[in-house]
């Protein structure tokens, strides 16, 4: 091979490898050498494709197409070579070129696409040399890679083939191409739509009808507003009744399912034929389509729904065909909550499907069950599911956890009445060996803590159970759950029963397995616990003092200012516990000091900082003069102690609540607020405040607490009192402050150890256990649902903006379609027999043309359509006008609206009126008569 790599030589041409050779070479190369073999082949192709010999070029292009398609190479560089081969008279060459082009061309990446226009037009023209073997790939290129311009230019060339006037016998393919052309170029609708409609007529051959119906199905389903297709309803109805082709029937059903939502009378009309098909058809695909149509669009017709549900049961009962079972479950899921009886009837199958080998079926069954949850059965079903999740494979276990978390947490826990139960369920979920949903569990634990005051004691209990289990610390998925547990037990420490145990759990040696952020939360929790126990201890003494002094000096002495009313809460909780002894607090402090001590040298700043906070607090306590004196009552004599207590309380006694996302907006700026121009003096303030962002829990107050209380007294009280004031003012966004009665704990624990049950019995177990659980029934007489704080979030962002662009384009199409249909089919009676009536339609059109002069505003639709035909170049202006007109009829003049309303409201009268007017103004209300004639 003497040839340079740039120019093809005769040798290349003579010894060119064919596609088969290339494939063989690739097959014989190992996976390692394959890349090299492909690179070599590509070099070869790059040379050969420039050959003046067209056959060499064609083979090279063929090889390149193969490599591009199955080995994912880029072949956009060869676009010109493909175009070069298109005009070749030898059939295989343009076929190779068309295949290459249809696989690799796209308007976005192929600049040369317009160069194909002329050749495509030539190949679409009726000529003896244009055999189907040549026209098919040409149409295919037009269908797959067309730009808007190309489609617009070639639409007129498609029309003869679509309408069957051309000698080329490719009507179905041309119809499919026309559909794609309409999709990229709505402006082609005036040209293409009419021939497409004609394809539906009785005289067309079955293949043409089938292709046309699928095209209309595509159009109607893609349109944001399918109302322009309503006038075709009679044609589709005829097909629904007459056609014996299942493919056609399926498409027709899909069209009706879409249209029935617009025109309620359609549903009444099609319900009989659909039920006939449901009963008689042996084809499962058609039966399934009927079921879907009934469930989605005919759900008001009870008999039809009953029939569909019976068919679904047949699907569910087909043991040998998982496809039918899967689709059956999906069909059940389509039924809304109003048809829970249908799911109820198949309850056993649904639940057994949880045990199916097919993940699809299990997933559907799970969705169905979640859809059936209501207040009365949520406890039972969720308990079962979570137990079941313990035993099944990891993926499905997580799917179950996900579903339970999502359903129970939906809409601020609207399903949950018994929060104690739900919290222990969350604990149980965390203990699932496969659990990977730690983040959501974490979120909900904290969230419930913030929102549901009554649930806090149980929350603290569950958190304790999680924290003291050393086994959980090793599981990286549970880190976040443990973090939430630690936070909860620190924040709601007053509900805790054994502080020492809790501190020991939080500081156990295995906590070094946790990430530093979680450790920081742990230490912060320890800080709160130490504070709490110290305060409680001091208060207890003070209370005792007050009491004894009150005893001693009979009612005239009331100097004690510390035990004020708002602190009574803490008193209560102390009373519940045993009395706190000096030794036990000392012991606690000692323990914390020894275990946290080493952490003050920790590398991680978060951990180190918090550890130092704790140690600082302990030092302050120790430094008070009387701490080491055994006689406890001496303690109160130290003013410093009262100061510390007051300070701590101010920092921690306030509840943290959920904050509405809109809260900041509602705070009015005070009139006397003057902001400094220069904020540099803030640095001085911030200098001694810890501003490290808090961990994953989502509010910012927490991070500031420790330093406030660590700092020396006076200046620190101010921020917390400001905070209190802020809360008073905007109390509405926080937890309500009313005190509820103490929870009774009469619910059994949910996380009892599971007995090992053999897998085969699982489903039976479940079925047995949920014997009646799907039926919504009266809840057992339990305690009332506790108050759950809900914020009136106004953040429902409308999602409509996202789909705007697409809708706009689709709207253009349906607008164009509407124009065509309303322009050409203005006379309703003609639609049943269009082929014979076509001439008269034309006359009608002209008539309405004249009427435009009289009824300008009403006729603008049809007018617009004609304008379109004249000039499609002034696109943008038309677009806007379409949008205005077709987007919503409500935009029209109110005068016209009221007029239309009157015609509709009394149908009898309206019809009469319409006929009267028919002589003078035949087309005033263009949309109404077309459909009415068919339906009445």
């Amino acid at each position: 091979m003497a040839a340079t790599s740039s120019s093809p030589s005769l040798v290349d041409t003579l010894f060119q490898r064919s596609l088969d050779d290339l494939i063989r070479a690739l097959r014989s190369s190992s996976s390692v050498t394959e890349a090299a073999a492909i690179a070599r082949a590509l070099d070869e192709i790059r040379r050969e494709i420039r050959s003046p010999d067209l056959d060499t070029k064609a083979v090279a292009l063929q090889k390149l197409t193969y490599l591009a398609s199955l080995h994912h190479l880029d072949m956009s560089w060869a676009a010109f070579h493909a175009l070069e081969l298109l005009p070749s008279p030898s059939l295989p060459r343009p076929r190779v070129a068309y295949l290459a082009a249809s696989l690799s061309f796209h308007p976005s990446s192929t600049d040369l696409l317009p160069l194909a226009t002329h050749q495509l037009r030539k190949h679409l023209a009726p000529s003896p040399s244009n055999t189907p073997a040549l026209v098919t790939p040409a149409l295919h290129l037009l269908a797959l890679a067309s730009s808007a311009d190309l489609a617009c230019h070639l639409a007129p060339d498609l029309v003869p083939i679509v309408s069957g006037q051309s000698s080329i016998p490719l009507r179905p393919k041309a119809i499919a191409t026309a559909l794609r052309a309409l999709a990229v170029c709505p402006d082609a609708a005036p040209v293409l739509f009419k021939p497409l409609v004609d394809c539906l007529s009785l005289s067309s051959e079955p293949h043409v009808v089938s292709a046309a119906v699928s095209a209309f199905c595509e159009l109607a389903l893609a349109a944001p507003d399918p109302s322009p297709y309503l006038p075709l309803a009679p044609e589709f109805y005829r097909l629904l009744v007459d056609s014996r082709n299942n493919w056609v029937l399926i498409k027709v059903l899909k069209i009706f399912a879409r249209l029935a939502s617009l025109e309620p009378r359609l549903a009444a009309r099609i319900v009989d034929p659909v039920c006939q098909l449901l009963r008689r058809s042996p084809a499962k695909s058609l039966v399934f389509e009927c079921i879907r149509t009934v469930l989605s669009s005919l759900s008001d017709h009870d008999a039809a729904v009953r029939l569909a549900v019976d068919k679904i049961k047949e699907f569910l009962a087909s043991d040998d065909d998982p496809n039918l079972r899967y689709l059956g479950l999906q069909a059940l899921a389509m039924l809304g909550p109003a048809y829970s009886w249908a799911v109820e009837e198949s309850r056993e199958v649904v639940i057994q499907s949880l045990n199916d080998t097919d993940t699809n079926i299990r997933h559907e069954a799970l969705c169905l069950i979640m859809g059936m949850l209501c207040e009365s059965n949520v406890v039972e079903i969720c308990n079962l599911l979570i137990k079941y999740a313990m035993k099944c494979d990891p993926d499905f276990a997580n799917e179950i956890l996900d579903a339970v978390l999502a359903t129970c947490g939906r809409n601020v826990y609207e399903l949950i009445v018994d929060f104690d139960w739900y919290i222990s369920l969350l604990g149980e979920m965390a203990r699932n060996p496969h659990c990977a949903k730690g983040n959501e569990i974490e979120r909900q634990l904290v969230d419930i803590g913030l929102r549901v005051r009554d649930a806090r004691p149980e929350l603290v209990r569950v958190a304790r159970d999680l924290l003291i289990d050393p086994a959980l610390l090793g599981n990286p998925f549970l880190c976040s759950v443990l973090s939430a547990a630690a936070w909860v037990s620190g924040e709601y420490v007053e509900s805790s029963s054994n502080l020492l145990e809790l501190v020991e759990a939080l500081l156990q040696p295995r906590t070094n397995l946790l990430s530093s952020l979680v450790r920081a939360v742990y230490i912060q929790a320890v800080f709160k616990i130490v504070t709490f126990s110290f305060i409680s201890f001091i208060k207890q003494i003070q209370a005792f003092d007050t009491k004894s002094s009150a005893d001693r000096s009979t009612a005239f002495e009331n100097e004690d200012g510390v035990a004020t009313a708002d602190k009574a809460v803490i008193f209560d909780s102390i009373d519940n516990n045993e009395t706190i002894k000096h030794e036990s607090v000392s012991h606690l402090l000692d323990f914390v000091e020894t275990t946290v001590g080493p952490l003050s040298e920790c590398d991680d700043v978060e951990v180190q900082e918090r550890a130092r906070n704790v140690l600082g607090l302990i030092r302050i306590i120790r430094e008070t003069r009387y701490w080491n004196i055994v006689a406890e009552h001496e303690l109160t004599r130290d003013n410093k102690i009262s100061e510390i207590v007051e300070l701590m309380e101010a920092a921690f006694s306030e509840d943290l609540g959920p904050v509405s996302t809109n809260a900041q907006k509602r705070v009015t700026v005070p009139e006397d607020l003057i902001l400094n121009e220069n904020l540099s003096d803030l640095a001085g303030v911030l200098g001694d405040i810890d501003v490290t962002p808090c961990t994953s829990i989502s509010f910012s107050l927490r991070g500031h607490h420790p330093t406030k209380s660590k700092e020396d007294s006076a200046p620190v009280i101010e921020p917390s009192s400001l905070l209190a004031e802020h809360r008073k003012r905007h109390g509405l966004y926080y937890l309500s402050t009313e005190k509820d009665e103490v929870e009774s704990n009469d619910y059994p624990l949910a996380n009892e150890p599971l007995l090992p049950v053999s897998h085969v019995d699982d489903a039976k177990d479940i079925v047995k256990l949920t014997a009646q659980s799907f039926i919504p029934r009266k809840a057992k007489s339990t305690k009332p649902r506790p108050v759950v704080i809900r914020l009136d979030e106004g953040d429902g962002v409308s999602s409509s903006g996202l789909t705007m662009v697409k809708e706009f384009k689709d709207d253009l199409l349906s607008g164009a379609v509407r124009n065509v249909l309303l322009g050409n089919e203005s006379k309703p009676s003609s639609s049943h027999d269009m082929s014979s009536d076509r001439t008269s339609q034309r006359g009608e059109n002209d008539a309405s043309n004249n009427n435009d002069l009289f009824s300008q505003p009403n006729e603008s639709n049809a007018l617009d359509g004609r304008e379109h035909r004249k000039s499609s170049s002034r696109k943008s202006r038309h677009h806007i006008r379409h949008k205005e007109k077709n987007g919503s009829p409500g935009n029209e003049d109110t005068e016209e609206k009221s007029h239309r309303h009157s015609t509709r409201s009394s149908r009898h009268q309206g019809k009469h009126k319409h006929r009267q007017r028919g002589d003078t103004l035949p087309d005033v209300v263009p949309q109404e008569p077309v459909i009415q004639d068919f339906l009445l």
């Binding site: 003579l14 010894f15 490898r17 064919s18 596609l19 494939i23 063989r24 097959r27 056959d55 063929q62 193969y66 591009a68 398609s69 199955l70 994912h72 190479l73 880029d74 072949m75 030898s90 059939l91 295989p92 076929r95 190779v96 796209h106 976005s108 990446s109 189907p132 073997a133 098919t136 790939p137 149409l139 269908a143 179905p172 393919k173 119809i175 499919a176 559909l179 794609r180 293949h207 089938s210 292709a211 199905c217 595509e218 389903l221 493919w247 399926i250 498409k251 899909k254 695909s285 058609l286 399934f288 998982p322 496809n323 899967y326 689709l327 080998t357 097919d358 993940t359 699809n360 079926i361």
Partner: protein, 166 residues
């Protein structure tokens, strides 16, 4: 409409790829890989449907058939009926079987162009046009006859290996 037709072997090597909505080559590779990852994880005797939202966008589904060493995969949206698509795979496979007389993976590997010709007769631009394998066969045979008669003059096998290799 049908979004894509994918035929791949059980090792994940694509044998026929047809996307009815343009996908650049890298994207094609990615899609093929994700489909294979989903399919290879599924045991036999389970349902043939897979929700394909994550791979092909919202509202799409995937139906596949596992035959011998090949997966036949159709990706489609809400305009198509699931069971009808399953039947259509059957139509495609039957047609291939009749066309190649007991089709095997090798036939598909070595008949790149013919595979596209057959597929284009059944599905055109994403629309199902023909469901009778007999008629598809007839059309395909007619095309190859025309191609042969056109190339009988010019398409003399030139390659040496082409001459001796078979």
């Amino acid at each position: 409409m049908i979004r894509a037709v994918i035929v791949m072997n059980t090792q994940g090597k694509p044998r026929l790829l047809k996307f009815y909505e343009f996908q650049p080559p890298e994207k094609q590779q990615e899609l093929t890989r994700s489909v294979f990852a989903v399919l290879s994880g599924r045991p036999d005797n389970v349902s043939n449907f897979v929700e394909a939202d994550a791979i092909f966008g919202p509202g799409t589904r995937l139906v596949y058939k596992h035959l011998a060493t090949l997966y036949f995969v159709f990706v489609f949206d809400s305009c198509e009926n699931e069971l009808a698509m399953l039947d259509l795979i059957q139509v495609l496979v039957e047609t291939l079987d009749r066309c190649f007389k007991n089709v095997c993976e090798l036939d598909i590997v070595f008949n790149f162009n013919k595979m596209h010709t057959i597929l284009d007769e059944i599905i055109f631009g994403g629309q199902v046009l023909e469901t009778s394998s007999e008629r598809v066969l007839k059309a395909v045979e007619e095309i190859s006859r025309l191609e042969k008669s056109a190339s009988s003059v010019s398409f003399v096998p030139k390659s040496v290996s082409g001459r001796f290799g078979r």
